[in-house]
Each structure stands twice: as C-alpha cells, then as structure tokens.
Amino acid sequence: MQTILSIGLDAFAYGMALFIICIGLSLTMGLMRVVNLAHGAFAMIAGYIASYAARDLGMGYAIAIALAILGTIVISIPLERLLFRRIYGSPELTQVLMTIGITFCVIGITNYFFGPTLKTIPLPEALAQPVDVGFRTISAHRLFVIACGVVVATGLWFLIEKTAFGIKLRATVDNAAMADALGVRTQVVYAVSFAIAIGLAALGGVVGAEFLPIEPYYALRYMVTFLVVVSVGGAGSIPGAVVACIVLGAIDTTGRYLMPEFGNFFFYAAVIGIVCVFPRGFFGRAQ
C-alpha cells in the first residue's frame, strides 16, 4: 500500500508536469488543427531562458519563470507570423515536416550557443525542501508542480467555457469562415491561442525540468511523448489531456519503479493498445 501510494504520488506529479506542457499542444492540434511537433522545442527554449536567468544571472525562481514565459512567447511571435501561419489548414504531412524542420533548427542553434550539457534551474529554498505528507516525504517542488497543473486546468477550463474569448475561440474552431463573417477576428484568435499554447509549454518546460531535464535534444527526445499524450487524450480536450497524462504518467512511473530494465517498452506497448482501442483518444471528438 505504502509503495502504491508512493508511486502514485510521483506518477501524479510527473503526469501534471506532462499536462502543463501538453495541454498547449492539445489546444493547437484540436482547436487550430496544426500538428505542431515543435511544441517541445518551445518548452526547451523556456528551460534555457529560466536556467540562464536563475543560474547565471541569479534571479529568483518566480522571476525566472515569468521571464521564460515572456521570452518564449516573444520568440514565437515571428515564427507564428512567418512560418506557422502558412501551414494552417495544410495537409498533415506538410505540418509535420515544417515543424520537424523548426525543431531541428532550434536544437542546432541551442547547441551552438549553450553546448550539449544539461542545464539545471536552481530551486528556491522553499521548494527544495522535503515536505512530510503523512506516509512519506516528498519534495515541495513536486507539490508545486501538482498545484500548477490544477491551476492551469481550471484556468483553461474557465477561459474556454466561461469567457467571451472562449466563445470566439470555439466559434472559430467550429467554422472559421462563419466566425469571420460574424465579426470575430479569427487571425487574432489564432494568434492569441497560439501564444497561450506556447506560454503553457514554457511554464511546463520550466517547472517540469526536474522530470524532463533541459538539454539540446529535449525537443526531439520528448516530442514523441508529448504527441502520444495528446493523441491518447484526444486533441483539444482538457479532461482528455488530464486523464491521458495521469494514465501515461502512471504507466511510465510504475514501469520505471517495478521493471526499470524494460525502460519504455511498456509505455509504448500501452500506447499502441490505447490508440487501437480508442482511435480518437479518450475524449476525442468525432470528425
């Protein structure tokens, strides 16, 4: 029982970190119909910015996070303008190629400037300490990640379901031409959603750095994991992404605890099983 709870807590924290990164991707794919394989690259960029700010410039953790999010969004704006905007509505293969291309460029450039070594993001005192949660101790940082995940999920749900922007977003997704005719500035809606997605990737990249360490190959190494989460959850679905992250986080973490020598074997086997049974993901919409 102790072990189960213990694994469960770690799995949950890992799942939440995945969630924060992936939900942005799920939104771009589900709502904007763009297969953005470069999503992880943005999380990585954020990790580098945060690491540089916190470790090399000695800024606080909170400031580093804020800077990372802002910086990543600023970097993403010209990319959205020049590159992504051309592949909205293109066939999947085109989108895959373009965004893999962007990923490769980001990896190459990052390595050129920062080198191939791992970058750490120093945690503040308060988050580095272990916290006693009754049956075991857990680092405060993991609780912080869980809290972030919960805040992001509710915040997004509120934004999409309860605000005027959410209504415009859903209208644009359902029928962009009609929304346009009704006076919704769809280009702006797309740009804002894209920025939100990138901002979430950035947040996830920084707070999840303990689970997914920051290095140049980050963008490629976890690209597959992120894609898997989104397609298992069903693109565009927040509850789907939550469930997928928790399930896949649990499978991955349990696998590592119980059968470390089999690495990702069970993870991918589970993915194949899940996608075969739920070809549209847990909460995917019918097309």
Binding site: L220, F262, P279
Partner: protein, 335 residues
C-alpha cells in the same frame, strides 16, 4: 473552360509508350550514376553502399507515403527488422548473401504486416503516433533482447560468405557496392512495374479518395496492407544489405531518428515518383557526410532549414521543382 487548340489532336496518343521509354532512360541513368560513383569515389564505397541501403528504405517509404498517402514516422522499424533478421541468420550460420537478402525481405515483410495491421486501424494524428510508438517498441525490443541482437552494443561479427561462392566481400567494399547497385536497380525496376499495375493505380486512388474507391466496390484495408507488406520487403532488403556490407547491425537501424530522416529524404526528393526517393537520399546523405564531419549540430540546423525551405518553396520536392521548371520552360518556348 478548356479551349482546345485546333492544332491539338482530339485523342492524345497513348502515353504508355513514352512512359516506358522514359523509365528505360531512367534506369540507365541510375546505372550510369552508380558506376560513376564507383569510379569517382573508390575510397568511399562503404558510404555509397550505405546510401544504396538507405535508398531502398526510402523507396519503400515512397510506396506508403507517396502512393498510398499514409504519413509514417516509423519506417525504420521495417528496415531494422530486415537488418536484424539477416544479421541473426548470418551469425547463426546462414552466410550466403542472396539468402540473407531474402531473409531480410521476409523479416521486413513480416514487420510490414504487423505495422500495417496496427497503423491502418487509425487515421490522421493517431496513425502517426502509432507509427512512432511501433518503431520505439521495436527499438526497445531490440535493445532488451540482447541475447539475440547484441543490445546497445550492436550485433557484430557477421561473416557473409563470398557472393555466388566467388566474389569475396573485400575490405574496400567493391563487391558489396556492386552487389547493392545491382539489387537497387532490380528492385527499382520491379517497383516501377508494381506502381503501374492495376494494384498501383488502386493505391493512387485510395490516396486521393477512399470513399470513391469504396463506391467502386473495392476494399481499402487489404490493398493498403498488401502495400505495407511489399514496402516491408523492400525496406528489409535495404536493412539486410546494410547488415551484410557493414557486418554490424546497430540499434540506430530501428530508430525514430532514422525514420524521420528517411521521410525528410523522400520529401526532399519528391513524393510518388520513385525517382524522387533516390535523388533525395543521395543529396541528403551526401550533404550529411560533408557537413556532419564538421559539426553534427550544424547538420541538424541545416536539415531543419532545408525542410522549412522545401515546405515553403517546393512542396512537391526537388523532382516537382524540376517538373515545374521544365513546364515553365516549355510554356516560354511555346509562345
């Protein structure tokens, strides 16, 4: 809207004859280019043989992506299955090269059958994810079954016997290269027949509109699965060739990276022509050889930039670009 010019014949002559003429010329060109490589780069024959092995994989990828319209990022699973099948057979005493190629083809075809059966259950993004998950699963399986595959150290010590009992696989790789070239030309000719057979036309139809093909009374799944098996056999031959020529099978032969690179090569060269697959492979691997020997990360940046450029400027790949240039040249000439 079409105005038929009076000089134009109402019924165009059958283009089959012209097509065959062009394909004969194409095959001769491939042979010429292959022999030119043999004379020009005698010190790089190992690399050139590797290019041929990968070209076989990219050709087989074209069957799936270019002719059936299924995007996959897991094609190295088929290449690797062939490589490991041939490699394991070789260390266990089957050393005749042609037999090893056949074993590789069978291994690849079996993997193609498995991969097709799984991938064809889904469409779109989930399908893409399945392809990645399958290649990763194969990768993990090859890694863990180290008793048979050598795990992360790779499977080494392959000692293929002389080809036809006469031609030894020499240190300079001359035999391996010429063997590979003959294999490539043979496969290419066979594939040209496959894609212009009724089956090939059916696949092209499926790529464009599955609903229409069903309304013509044809089942889609068995046709696509058949193509997966053929594609697996070709990719498997590529894997077997790589195993025989390098005498090692590494884990990198079943990797996501190799799958992604193969797709890049194909798209660079152009989809759905078979020629594009060859052109893309040669150009990509040539550049890779030059640039990555300077700095592997510059290579990534370059590939990335190249991909973006191809998507923006030449969505049909380089062969599409030349077609377009020819077309505009003709139009100018005609005026």
């Amino acid at each position: 809207m079409q105005v038929i010019a009076p000089s134009e014949k109402l019924v165009a002559p059958s283009h089959t004859g012209a097509q065959i003429g062009r394909d004969v010329a194409g095959v001769l060109l491939i042979i010429a280019a292959g022999l030119a490589g043999y004379w020009l780069f005698p010190d790089n024959l190992a690399l050139l043989t590797r290019v041929i092995a990968v070209a076989l994989m990219v050709l087989s990828l074209d069957l799936i992506v270019g002719y059936c319209g299924i995007a996959t990022l897991g094609h190295a699973a088929l290449f690797g299955a062939g490589a490991y099948a041939a490699g394991i057979a070789c260390v266990n005493g089957v050393t005749e090269p042609l037999t090893l190629i056949v074993i590789g083809a069978v291994g690849g075809a079996a993997a193609g059958l498995v991969m097709g059966t799984i991938m064809l259950r889904a469409h779109g993004l989930p399908q893409l994810v399945l392809s990645i998950a399958i290649v990763q699963l194969f990768h993990e399986a090859a890694n863990k079954a180290s008793a048979y595959t050598g795990g992360s150290d790779g499977l080494s010590g392959l000692m293929p016997s002389p080809l036809f009992g006469v031609f030894e696989f020499d240190l300079w790789g001359q035999t391996a290269y010429l063997f590979g070239l003959i294999l490539l030309v043979f496969v290419f000719i066979v594939l040209k027949f496959v894609v212009s057979s009724p089956f090939g036309m059916l696949c092209r139809g499926i790529k464009e509109d599955q609903v229409r093909i069903r309304a013509m009374g044809a089942f889609v799944f068995p046709v696509l699965l058949k193509m997966f098996v053929i594609s697996g056999a070709v990719a498997g031959m590529g894997g077997a060739l790589a195993a025989i020529s390098t005498q090692v099978v590494g884990l990198d032969s079943v990797s996501f990276e190799l799958s992604a690179n193969a797709l890049v090569m194909l798209v660079l060269g152009g989809l759905g022509t078979l020629y594009g697959a060859l052109v893309g492979t040669v150009i990509f691997m040539g550049f890779e050889h030059v640039v990555s020997s300077i700095n592997p990360f510059h290579w990534m940046t370059m590939v990335g930039a190249l991909l973006i450029a191809v998507v923006l400027a030449a969505p049909k790949g380089l062969s599409g670009l030349t077609d377009r240039l020819f077309a505009s040249g003709r139009a100018k000439g005609g005026r």
